[in-house]
Amino acid sequence: MESTPFWSLKFWLEGLQSLDWTDPTLRWVVMGSVLLGVAAAVLGCFAFLRGRSLMGDALAHAALPGVCVAFGLAEWARARGLFDVGSKNLWLLLVGAGLSGMLAAWCISFIARNSRIKEDAAQAIVLSVFFGTGILLLTRIQHGSSGSQSGLDKFLFGQAASLVGSDVRTMASMAVVLCVLTFVLYKELKLLCFDQAFGRGLGLPMGFLDGLLLVMIVGAVVIGLQAVGVVLISAMLIIPPAAARFWTEKLHRMIPLAALLGGLSGGLGAVMSALAPRMPTGPLIVLAATTMFTISLLFAPQRGALARGWRLLSTRRMVRRENALRDLFEITEESLAPGTTTPDMPVEQLAHFEGASEDDLRSKRGVTQAVLRGVLQELKRAGWVEIMPHPTGKGRWRLTPAGLQKAYDVVRRHRLWEMFLMYETSLGPQSIDRDADAVEHFLPPEALVHLEEMMRQNGLEPRLKPAAAS
């Protein structure tokens, strides 16, 4: 295993086979990391939606001096013979971390409320001051008498391998408390994140809930300190919710999904870290989460980048197709039935139209020749237009009977929309779905009749009618 480089797939596959799942250490490590992934993701959903994504980062960095001070206090007390809880007692260190995290949160809100400094600036200031202090204290402790064995440096980047059974039980109990609280207060927290002012209007104590959410976020941060470390724990708060958001439009689905992604990345990161023991766990967990985020960002069906890009592209193509059809229809209409008084032209007349040149079509709309040709070829393949030879050498384009039907529908729809937008106010209250592509889909029949009449009066009724419409 030593000889295989860690970037090869072989390294991980061989490693996976060699993992001893009966080993309690490995089990604890994986379980602990999964728990932290779940708890952080659940709380992270609310931080993310509340627009507090950076708060977790500030709180986490601010936890470092708390850990150091708690360690120092315990050492000091033991040296004086006052009490001995063991300076590596996890509860003690986590309480220290939580307290200093909350102190930082208070500082941030104090600065933001009592000065003209905005919250993001306050976060940046408090984060760096607390973290700097933490690094100073950490360096002192590590150069002190018992420092090198303190193991406090694992709080920087996390070392899941150092988790033992009692640690995981501590983490598990905190994670359970946090998840239950979230479940119980689900509707209040949702309201807090969506519309705080309305919640206050209902008489719900939004200030209290906001503070409680902060304390819960501190809790989630504290759970992850040992495995992921202060520098990267905020990634576990934000990345899984951000990834989950791509897949769903409902909060009650987003939270379990984020928990799943968070737990999965926690587990994966821990396993990888067990295979490559010299690697810190935090970065591996974050990398696993980031992979899932990247997949979500790209491939999520509605909100993903590819889906959005594809939608944009196909809308653009559809608009170009429809525009070309409309232009050709209007040129044909103008040529066969000039003026507005001419009676409707039956479809047989189409044969008398000598066709429109590409220049005619381009003069209707500012498209490049390449784009126009592409669209026309597309329409030709669909059987909606045909090209006829012309003495000038440049072919001329004409609608086929099928194309006429299609173009008639498009033109009529566009002109009805136009009428609707012009006479919207006289139609009285309507329940309008602007996503609907046709006015018929949301207007009652009598309003449609009215619009058709308006279309006639404005001389906009399509005069070239396909067989089916006449």
Partner: protein, 291 residues
């Protein structure tokens, strides 16, 4: 508002509303509100009768929204008091329905229209209880009243601005309140939404509710409202539209913007032969003082 079982609270309210019709829906005494050192509302004394549609108008920065928020207890009051149906707001929360400004929330929040409307019931539900079938049906009914029933399951970011506004109105209806505070519900909405809101206001009035609306379109005040409150950091006038919405009062309220205003004021005083709503279209002077 057609819920099958009326809670004891509501019975008590409707009785008190009948027997003490003289108790004002909103009574404000000596109200002063300050942000930091600068007061934005001075010594407001106000008494608004129940069962009316009331517009609060005034130029930008006149403190219209501030008045609304402070009487609901959303902003701290520097001095004075406000009573809703004869009692301080914190005792009357169940009576208050609130429509905040549409821009105050992030519409990309992962939820749908029906879910937002159900939030109106959260106050009644109390802690820990989840909205159930009854709340869901009541919420659907409220969406129906604003003509949005077919959009119940639409993600809220997929709604137009006017539709989002109607979702907010439906949510206030779901609060089953006696007095409604609406912060600029007509701002930037389409004609369909505007008429839906007007219809809704009429319905609420017909059911004996009081509606207090921050409004910015002087042209429609006479058409939509019974009462008007003219505000510009101080209270300039308050009373029935017929006697209070006068050119003189408008000039006092809007001061410097007299030229634009006189055109509207003339139109207002001349426009006695009322045309039917919406036939007139939505011309000029729409966003007053929004420069």
């Amino acid at each position: 508002m057609q819920t099958e079982n009326i809670s004891p609270l509501e019975v008590q309210i409707s009785e008190s509303a009948n027997s003490h019709a003289q108790i004002p829906a909103l009574e404000v005494h000596d109200l002063t509100v300050a942000y930091h050192r600068k007061p934005v509302l001075w010594d407001i004394d106000l008494s608004l009768p129940a069962g009316n549609l009331i517009a609060i108008i005034g130029p930008n920065g006149a403190g219209k929204s501030t008045l609304l928020k402070s009487v609901m207890g959303l902003l701290p009051i520097a001095s004075g008091w406000a009573k809703i149906h004869g009692k301080p707001w914190h005792e009357q929360r169940q009576l208050i329905g609130y429509v905040p400004q549409r821009e105050s929330v992030d519409w990309d929040f992962p939820t749908d229209a029906l879910d937002v409307v159900m939030m109106g019931a959260y106050g009644r539900l109390g802690w820990m209880r989840r909205p159930g079938k009854a709340e869901r049906e009541a919420a659907l009914n409220c969406l129906e009243q604003v003509g949005m029933a077919s959009f119940a399951n639409r993600q809220i970011s997929q709604l137009s601005g006017g539709q989002q506004q109607r979702v907010f109105l439906a949510r206030a209806l779901a609060q089953q309140a006696q007095i409604y505070f609406m912060d600029e519900p007509f701002a930037g909405v389409d004609a369909a939404t505007e008429s839906a809101i007007v219809t809704l206001l009429q319905d609420l009035k017909a059911n004996g509710k009081t509606v207090i609306v921050v409004h910015h379109d002087l042209e429609t005040v006479r058409e939509y409202f019974d009462w008007v409150v003219l505000l510009n950091m101080r209270l300039l006038a308050a009373g029935p539209v017929a006697t209070t919405f006068t050119r003189e009062n408008l000039q006092k309220t809007y001061g410097g913007k007299l030229t634009v205003l006189s055109a509207v004021a003339d139109a207002v005083s001349l426009d006695d032969a009322r045309q039917t709503p919406f036939a007139r279209g939505r011309k000029g002077a729409k966003t007053f003082g929004e420069n």
